[in-house]
């Protein structure tokens, strides 16, 4: 699909979609969204970029191999459960912290957040790797 319009807007569209996917990921705990949806949005973004501009630029943009990203996500999700052991609760129990920063900004941090980020990475990595591999084959 070597159209000029698509090629021109693809980088911008992709970056917007990735940013949006991260917003969806982070707001997922209270509004519709989360790791799965966010991951799918980002994966579509990269697939689109690949279709428009070829696989090479996508791989350069990602820097890491998509499967490595996926693996890292898996590791992150798995490790986020390990924190529970230090608190003597079952594996993957959700734990929360509410650290306050200067200016009265409270940032809620939790193990489910990191778990969800892991989910996001796994979905993005796996799907992008399949899509890119298929696009590459020509």
């Amino acid at each position: 699909m070597n159209t000029l319009i698509l090629r021109t807007i693809a980088p911008t569209l992709t970056s917007l979609m990735v940013i949006y996917s991260i917003i969806v990921l982070l707001s997922g705990h209270n509004q519709p969204g989360g790791g799965f949806i966010g991951g799918l949005i980002a994966a579509s973004a990269f697939a689109l970029y690949g279709i428009a501009c070829g696989v090479g630029p996508v791989r350069r943009a990602l820097y890491f191999h998509p499967i490595a990203i996926s693996g890292f996500g898996m590791l992150l999700a798995g490790l986020s459960g390990v924190v529970s052991f230090y608190k003597d609760v079952p594996y993957l129990t959700g734990l929360w912290w509410f650290p306050k920063f200067s200016g009265g900004i409270e940032v809620p941090l939790s193990t489910p957040l990191f778990f969800d980020i892991g989910v996001w990475l796994v979905v993005v990595g796996s799907l992008v790797s399949i899509a890119l591999a298929l696009e590459e084959k020509d």
């Binding site: 989360g34 799965f36 979905v123 298929l134």
Partner: protein
Amino acid sequence: METYLSLIVGLYFAASVYLLLSESLIRMLIGVALMGNGVNLLIFTAGRITRDVPPIIAKGAASAQVMGDGAIANPLPQALILTAIVISFALLAFVLVLAYRAYETTGTDDTAEMRLSEPIEPAHLPKGY
């Protein structure tokens, strides 16, 4: 509302089974894709249908109800389906690639002609111990 969706689920299953019974690899793949949706709708309907109200606890409220007035949609089937959608998609992608490679290797997309692992002449029985 469940009645309509039950009929649609039936249609999904009938269509996907019909496609899966084909000997053409691509039709089977499409059947797999359809069946995924059919199953998701099945779970969704079995968890009962609520119009409009998503399973999100309103700002200010501490909890939500799944029964009675002001009930939210049943969150449990949704959680099941959400992962099911992603997994069935991953499966579909894998099966597509598998079919593609099988096509490349055997040169046909007719399952009746793909007999590499189960050749027409029956396997030999072992003799002795």
